[in-house]
Symmetry: C2
Amino acid sequence: MIQEVRERPLLMRELLGESLRELRTSESLTLREVSGRARVSLGYLSEIERGQKEASSELLNAICGALDVPLSALLRRVSDKIDAHAGVTQLPLRSPRVAAA
Amino acid sequence: MIQEVRERPLLMRELLGESLRELRTSESLTLREVSGRARVSLGYLSEIERGQKEASSELLNAICGALDVPLSALLRRVSDKIDAHAGVTQLPLRSPRVAAA
């Protein structure tokens, strides 16, 4: 989870990158393996996972293929993350902050 | 709906553009109004709607703000479109083709 408190809006590329990394590690795949399968450089894939680069639609398809995850499932995951973050920021101001476990 | 029969994979920017156009027209907003609110050129917004340009994450936030649609809702809409298209392409090969109304 991206845990820092933000004033600026969440960016899709950050939550997309986070999702891609989670999906890759849950399959015990290395950056090298996925970059090879998706035919994208390891450095670029790493930047995408860190939310530093936007992935083109073609590249997203290639990475999803490499992870064997439907693009629609990836987007739902990102969508859920956005809602989860929105839920956090919509907490009443006076409620105690709960530290992440 | 993007109705042509495709061999190549669906691209997110195409379904994203289609979704943005649907959301804009459902609110009876013009390209000019949304481009003004989102501070993006009318031509660029039009290219995004037609799936010809990728929108950066920052621009997506701006367009969603202009349309008053949460980014998560937009992504769910895109995700649903992908699944709907996948359902079409997964029809058995022998089934008769049904012309779009």
